[in-house]
């Protein structure tokens, strides 16, 4: 285990993280140093008939003594891609092929605003919550497919669009 430390933005508390390479499981985990392992069951059942979810975030636990940390599992789609996950200035870790990045954070310590970067794809800004354990996949979009995304703006035609090109001999004398 390699201990790292950094300061959060605006000096909002100290984060000490360790990076654990779990080769056997194909998992990269980023955890709070000295944080106890979490065993919090995931709660928050969804309403009946709800559509399949791209994300899974637990409801606040009814249990009066929840674990002090939460476990956040991040993958990418397609899962064959490799991606790096950044939290502000800090590189939190890598999502390898078929291997999620696992974070541990203090429970209810506020959200993590993350950026997921993968070569050839547009960067994705996403958010992880610390209410409870969660697991989610971040869809990556190749740069050349950005026109498939909500918010893509059709290009305006150039000002002379539709006007036939001038004949070479049509110039004024």
């Amino acid at each position: 285990m390699r201990g790292l430390s950094s300061r959060r933005g605006l000096g909002r508390g100290r984060l000490v993280v360790g990076v654990i390479a779990c080769a056997a499981l194909g998992v990269v985990a980023v955890a709070l140093a000295a944080a106890p392992p979490t065993g919090t069951p995931r709660g928050g059942a969804l309403p009946a008939g709800a559509p399949p979810l791209p994300i899974d975030v637990a409801a606040p636990p009814a249990d009066k003594t929840p674990s002090p940390t939460v476990r956040i599992v991040i993958t990418v789609l397609p899962s064959t891609k490799k991606a790096m996950v950044f939290w502000g200035k800090k590189r939190l870790g890598v999502i390898a092929q078929h291997a999620p990045l696992i974070l541990q954070r203090p429970r209810d310590s506020g959200p993590l605003d993350l950026v997921v970067k993968s070569e050839g794809c547009l960067p994705v800004q996403t958010r992880a919550y610390t209410f409870g354990d969660s697991k989610f996949a971040v869809k990556l979009t190749p740069v050349e497919e950005k026109n498939t995304l909500l918010g893509y703006r059709e290009e305006l035609p150039p000002p002379d669009a539709g006007v036939p090109p001038a004949e070479p001999d049509a110039a004024m004398p």
Partner: protein, 622 residues
């Protein structure tokens, strides 16, 4: 009642007795339960107090139903957390009364004790501020132009003074009434200079000016000054634009402790309203203002009649006391129509309504004046007669920018539905799921994340939070489903709003919803929930995510919960009155209308999306 100093904090209440002349009030701890049994009301002054909508609840089996936002609400009220629930940087203050979150008593105590040591007032500044009602705003870029304009008027008046042999400018104004307005202008602007200096001095002393990143240039209403004024207005709950207008200048001229006392009264008012479960604030009937009457009664009984008494109270009661402190007060009896199951209903009157486009075909703005503004009234049916308990200004929908499927913005009329509805669901800490037609530019904001300034999804606007498009609480208007069908939800809600100026603006419109200032929305729904049969459904987890593109970055909106649900059973009747249709257009325009100043791809605009989500809601609010 018998003193019970032996009781633990959660079983006792403070009883404040007579104040001997020149002395401190006599106080004693009494049994809280016994006090309630003989007609006392317990006003909760604890630091962990929330309004009813965020109170701890349990299900039918007694299991706790946690509210995700309660922790953040308490952290904000106690100056401990920011809007995301992260620790507040040391020394930072949350001034959130305008957003419905009043400071805890511990925060106010610290403010009183600090301000006693640094009063921030001097006679010269007080005189300078007393001499003006407002201070004229001159944009920094217009300073030279403004000075030239004033110099010309001064020269003109000086010439006239000599010509008409007037001793002074005041004399000139009497002799030549045609010049009186110019004399008044010059005198007003002259008085504003020392007033501006006094404002700078005061804001600096209060720690609101000179501590930020923006440099302030003396005498100039620059960005640093605007931000300082905005903080001051937030600190003192002043509903004004960020300029030195009348209420702001009045508050600047008062002593810090007097302003602190006003803040204490405002905070206690919400706690008294909550404890007594009342709503009548004089807005529907001037003769029925229980909110002010009960607050005054409580303040008198607590011996908190002025700033000095409040300061003494906070010196007697330290931070430990304020962790859990309830005060027993005897309030006047509530009106006979009160009960656990009141026959309540809401009427929204849309007031004067314009369907016409607000601009002509050249893009020039066309004014659409309104004499009658929209209002929301809560009624109670008493003996067959509707009694109005509270009536507040609200908003209706109007012409708003909408983003079409081609990525361009168009105008679209987003009106407020008319006719009978019900509120079945009330959601605290609601989340607004931005429809796909929301202008993308409003869905991204800048934030310092772990030492790096970056763009993130604008969760402030989505919620939960005081800046959410739905504010801190929302009631969902639906047409009840018949014959086994679901309710029809067209996306209209009556909810709190952080966009408080829009509610009182002559040009303020929503996207169809009926906005209320957050603190009034909290009072309204707390009152309804306490006086109607309900089921606490609790947190509504959801796994929603949506990606969108903005400037070559994909933003992923991830929403873990819709909020905390209360289900009214039976639902609350609502009626939305059509109002007075003004102008030529007598029906709402359907479809998109190109903005005259915008460029678009060739062809007609795409059709607007269907569905409830697209009808109400949108960037910049609801």
């Amino acid at each position: 009642m018998k003193p019970r100093p032996d009781l633990p904090a959660d079983q006792r209440a403070l009883y404040v007795g007579e104040t001997p002349p020149g002395g401190q009030p006599t106080e004693r701890w009494i049994d809280a339960g016994a006090a309630e049994a003989v007609g006392y009301t317990l006003v909760d002054l604890s630091d962990d107090w929330t309004p009813y909508i965020f109170a701890e609840q349990t299900d039918a089996g007694g299991q706790p139903l946690n509210n995700r936002y309660r922790r953040i609400f308490l952290g904000l009220a106690n100056d401990q957390l920011d809007e995301d629930g992260e620790p507040l940087p040391p020394g930072t203050k949350n001034y959130l009364e305008l957003y419905g979150i009043f400071p805890s008593l511990s925060v106010l105590r610290a403010r009183f004790l600090a301000d006693e040591l640094h009063p921030c007032v001097d006679q010269e500044s007080a005189d300078a501020l007393d001499a003006v009602e407002t201070v004229t705003y001159v944009a920094p870029a217009d300073l030279k132009k403004d000075e030239r304009h004033l110099s010309r008027i001064r020269a003109e008046l000086e010439d006239a003074r000599r010509k008409f042999h007037a001793a002074t400018l005041d004399d000139l104004a009497v002799r030549q009434p045609a010049l009186a307005a110019k004399v008044k202008l010059i005198e007003k602007r002259a008085a504003e200079k020392p007033a501006m200096t006094a404002v700078e001095k005061r804001l600096t002393c209060e720690g609101l000016l000179g501590s930020g990143k923006n440099h302030h240039q003396a005498g100039v209403y620059d960005d640093a000054m605007r931000l300082a004024v905005r903080s001051f207005q937030r600190k003192h709950m002043i509903y004004e634009a960020n300029f030195l207008r009348r209420k702001t200048v009045e508050a600047l001229s008062r002593s810090l402790l007097d302003n602190d006392y006003d803040a204490l009264v405002r905070a206690l008012r919400e706690r008294v309203v909550s404890a007594a479960a009342i709503l009548e604030d004089g807005s529907a009937s001037k003769t029925r203002n229980l909110v002010d009457d009960y607050t005054k009664t409580a303040l008198d009984q607590m011996g908190l009649s002025n700033a000095a008494a409040a300061l003494a109270f906070f010196k007697r009661h330290g931070a430990d006391d304020l962790k859990r402190l309830r005060v027993a007060v005897k309030l006047p009896p509530r009106p006979d129509y009160y009960g656990p199951e009141m026959d309540l209903s809401i009427v929204v009157d849309r007031g004067d309504v314009w369907y016409d486009l607000p601009f002509d075909d050249k893009g020039h703005y066309k004014p659409q004046p309104r004499k009658k503004y929209p209002s929301l009234t809560l009624y109670d049916k008493v003996g067959g007669k509707q009694v109005a308990l509270a009536r507040w200004r609200t908003t209706i929908g109007g012409w708003r920018a909408d983003q079409a499927s081609n990525g361009y913005e168009y105008f679209r009329y987003k009106g407020s539905d008319v006719g009978p509805r019900v509120i079945r669901h009330v959601v605290s800490g609601p989340v607004w799921i931005a429809p796909t037609s929301t202008p993308i530019r409003s869905l991204v904001k800048g934030k310092l994340v772990n030492g790096k300034w970056m763009g993130i999804v604008n969760y402030d606007e989505l919620g939960p939070g005081f800046l959410s498009a739905y504010g801190l609480i929302a009631g969902y208007f639906v047409v009840p489903g018949q014959n086994g069908h679901n309710d029809f939800d067209n996306g209209v809600r009556a909810h709190g709003s952080s966009d408080y100026l829009s509610i009182y603006s002559s040009n303020g419109y929503s996207h169809g919803c009926h906005r209320l200032p957050n603190h009034l929305a909290i009072r309204l729904y707390s009152f309804i929930l306490k006086h109607r049969h309900l089921r606490v459904a609790g947190d509504q987890p959801m796994g929603f995510s949506r990606q969108f593109l903005w400037k070559n970055t994909v933003y992923e909106m991830r929403i873990p919960s819709r909020g905390y649900l209360y289900e009214l059973d039976p639902p609350l009747p609502v009626n939305v009155l059509e109002g007075n249709i003004m102008g030529d257009q007598k029906k709402p325009v359907l479809g998109y209308v190109p903005e005259p100043w915008n460029k678009y791809p060739p062809g007609p605009p795409p059709p607007p999306p269907e569905g409830a989500d697209s009808k109400a809601g949108g960037g910049g609010g609801d």
